[in-house]
Symmetry: D2
Subunit: 352 residues, 4 copies
């Protein structure tokens, strides 16, 4: 395959359901890509997605895509249970691969995809779209540059009247977004240690429709996630407490998505105090300003397809690589086990 710098890379999108059309639109809008195919078992659906004025080809056959030498990369937006087979076939055909979240429906399957890409020296990227939003990038920066101080707690809420699914619970449906964000903003070397999950299926759907996930983090920090298909209120917020400042992200706010509070509780370590002071209260309160940093307006998925192209061309791992996707699946599997055992704490592989 010829991928010399400056030329657009050929790409095919597989899956024309909910997410595939967004990928197709962004690949077409990027000068780094030349979109060749939109592939779906239901070819009419693919045609409807493209509309009546498009020169992009459609096919129901994955082979058409994989046999096309002008296709350098495949973006997979099919149901999670098919990710492994499509991804392995694409890798075996020598294509770079972008996979929608979650990377696969089990840790074992996700690991096989990661390993195959490694063996073949091909780029494998997880489509963790939120990590490419200006908001999440800003959060990551404010943690990395010390503005927030040490991470103390994360409280995430993602609730909405959602499509209740038969084959996957609400954690697998919604939490990958938030877990991929946490994974992306956590400082180097800090990884969740263990998981506990509580869920309920009050409508009898056969799957947890409301769930809470607690992640133990080093240093007695705690990350907690609320995901819910049944709420008529749409909420997408993340509160990130740090030792210096606390950040609140409201992804739906029309006016102020990120607020950084210079307010909080400080505790003077007892060893720093002399004998008399140790008895006295060593707790103090900060009550400073709130700053809402300016954010760029940019579609995150545009950043995804550009990162994918750049990673392929420069033979480097993308910012959200296959291993990032694998770590999310690790947490989701552990959460399912915790749900089975009524909230029991389950340690993570990555923490072993």
């Amino acid at each position: 395959m010829n991928t010399q710098n400056g030329d657009a890379l050929g790409v095919a999108v597989v899956g024309a359901g909910y997410w595939g059309p967004n990928l197709a639109r962004n690949f077409q809008a990027s000068s780094m890509w030349r979109m060749q195919w939109l592939c779906d078992l239901d070819e009419d659906r693919a045609k409807r997605v493209l509309g009546n004025y498009s020169t992009v080809r459609t096919t129901p056959s994955l082979d058409d895509v994989l046999n096309d030498d002008s296709v350098h990369a495949v973006a997979i937006a099919t149901p999670p249970s098919t990710h492994e087979s499509v991804a392995l076939a694409a890798l075996d055909a020598g294509k770079h691969v972008l996979v929608e979240k979650p990377l696969a429906d089990s840790y074992a399957a996700a690991e096989r995809i990661v390993n195959r890409a490694d063996e073949l020296g091909l780029t494998l990227m997880s489509d963790h779209t939120y990590c490419y939003t200006p908001s999440v990038q800003k959060i990551r920066d404010l943690l990395a540059d010390g503005t927030l101080g040490d991470l103390q707690y994360v409280d995430s809420i993602r609730i909405n009247l959602g499509l209740v699914q038969r084959d996957v619970n609400v954690l697998w449906d919604l939490a990958p977004h938030d877990l991929s964000i946490l994974e992306y903003i956590l400082p180097e070397g800090i990884r969740p240690l263990a998981v506990a999950a509580h869920g309920a299926d009050p409508i009898g759907a056969g799957q947890a429709c409301v769930a809470y996930l607690s992640l133990q983090l080093p240093g007695d920090a705690l990350a907690h996630f609320h995901v819910n298909w049944l709420s008529p209120m749409k909420v997408r917020t993340m509160l990130i407490g740090g030792s210096k400042r606390t950040l609140f992200w409201d992804d739906l706010s029309p006016l102020q998505r990120i607020s950084v509070y210079d307010r909080g509780v400080d505790l003077t370590p007892r060893e720093e105090l002399n004998l008399e002071d140790r008895r006295a209260a060593s707790i103090s309160y900060r009550s400073g300003d709130v700053v809402a940093p300016a954010l760029q307006e940019k579609e995150a998925l545009r950043g995804v397809v550009e990162e994918f192209a750049d990673a392929i061309r420069t033979h480097r791992a993308p910012r959200t690589d296959g291993r990032a996707g694998l770590r999310i699946v690790d947490i989701l599997e552990a959460a399912n086990r915790s749900l089975q055992f009524q909230g029991a704490v389950v340690p993570l592989r990555g923490a072993r």
Copy 2:
């Protein structure tokens, strides 16, 4: 003691710290009461609370209060660890008793107070102030009259930069409010079954400063509580999902405190479907109006002192009696045990 109908009852408030002044103000404003004493070990504090223009007497001595025949009832707003001794002394002196939440600092102590009041035939009331707000009353009504349908989930958030305490964790400090509300709105006969709690002390305060509490309810329903001393954002919300409608309560909203959503997910029970339909999706979505019911403006604590007076006069149990307080302490003790064991599920006494 003479408590004939129509006459004001004499009352003393014990404790002039954070909550006592509110009790004192409301007893003075009610024609059902005649406030006789404000008692605090620090009498100067009591004097400062009353100001320079008051005819109410102060004393540092509980005996002064208990020996005064014009005092029919005592309202206790001292630290939780002292509730048992003050309450038992007041009951033994023949006084009716109102106790600030939590009723006591252990289940055993709370039970002793409840039993003593029973033995002596005196009124014991838990000051669960929130239960007397127009909002909570409306929520209770909408559950009781079937508007919301069966309870599916409760998600409660009470976070704020709070006074970090040395002797009690954030669950004992803040969750009693929300647990008393849950206790009050739950339909007759429905009681929480078990508790799991997750907490963190990222500032090294020696107590959990951030905590999450999950309560299992009958029918695979779930109640979940987030309490937090470290958040610079002040949030006080409760989302109550029902099989017919979902209610959102935002206690800090200046414009719309309660919203009732006629939106949700419906699942047709499989047994009601014929063979062909059972394979098809039996999930449907409602997308109706949102109604914000009109609420009265009334100070809740006024309702507390009036309920206390009326319960004494009519020799009936108050709406939030001692047993209601006891059930809250049961949950708090179980939550502490769950925290010790990293989130293990702990069954409740009331569910045995």
Copy 3:
């Protein structure tokens, strides 16, 4: 031209600047239309709008469009000063015409367009997009069916950091949206009587950048509009007071765009009172529920292009026809005159 029912109509979009791309996208998405051309003097801009995968043709020449028999209609999204010449040319070539707001840059020009379309029996439609939103449709319905009662006042705010323009003031830029909404929701036969405008140009742009417009309505009702290019806060709200209920529309609210308040002030007419009561206060207050009606999610511009097609096919006036556009220009011209004379009241032509 052949426009038999069932066949898609051919359309060309003229102008590929800010609004043209939205029109182009919606014409392509509608099965009622076959988009033939995107025309712009800067043909490269037109090509960039369509992207690399489109079969739609571009041209810098209006003649190419007007000479094409497959083009039944032309949608004009060029600068307002060019509307008259493009629209008249299109009408003279036998094309139906859709014109972006404002219809023209003067009343005289707008009137010439309206008259020409009438003479030629062609459809002329004003692209008053907001009138095709579910929100405005609901507002119109609630006024028409009597839910709100008689209109008492309208308070509209549309402020945002906007593109300060050299050739047109903020009223001509932003107020057409709100005036077209008012025009659309007002009951049959109720028309504004007179206009007063106040403006300021504190940055020295040579045009009013902040302006307020007051419209006298029959029955001592008042409509008031605030438009502002300088506000960093983005606000788009309309408060519509009625004798029975009041409606608040917040177009940017992620959760609740329309709220209908059953709260207000009632005055018993004095003639309905007997002599004793006339001295007493005859004012009463309603304090009922707030209802947020369910709204469909639909792109308004899709409704515009469908209405345009249907009006052409059924030889009827579109809901927002040329005369509606003319009435908006009447108000804008009167507002400019009022600005010149420091807020003097200027009567409207329509009211004569």
Copy 4:
């Protein structure tokens, strides 16, 4: 009268209606004052305000108050039409005077009060309570220290379901709050030049119930006020545009009352550009952070009573003196004249 430093001053509150009780509470809470009387023609109302536990005396007779040598100052919270006679009587009795807004019901009456206080060398203070809030103080500071730059526009909204009054329109009822704030924050020497007002009485109350006020300020700046008794939505906001930053004040926001936007439009003056650049756009946009400054929590009325005491003791004019109240009445009178003449521009006395 003996007012040596350190001693509390004696004060009487006249009027126990809506505002008087707030004054009474704050005088009692301040160590700078000794409250002697609450005076109301309806003495029972005064007694009810004080409650059953107060040592403060009541009287229906103003003479009782004025003849009492222990009374150094009188705070007037009676209806506006009585302000002149009560204030003059108090001044003539040698008492310092605090008057609720508006200072009087006409410019002539207000001027007589101001002049009498001057002649007698007594302190006359306007109770412009909002000027003593932490929010307004912060706004004044940010204008004074140049953070906001030059004032460009002010947009104020104060709407709420209000008590429709028979003898005064909504401008006289509500706008004094906002006008006193404007008066207080405007830089030294900058005064409104002229007024235009538009109003409506759609319920037939006999008074404008909805009104808009425009104030011309030097430098083509504009201040605009919306006051409304009929709105079921309660809104209290002020948007203050400056050449450097824009401030938004939402007095009802539970979380963020003041936001300072470093976003806006800049215009490079043409004379600073060379010939080529003058043709190019000289408009640029800033898109910086938003800062919500920390604000103290303090009851404004406490600040009023302390300022009153301090002004008396130090023989200086209070921050909101009688002349400040006089300027507000000047604007209100001009607004009434503008309403009579359908929005005609009326110049202010202060601007002559």
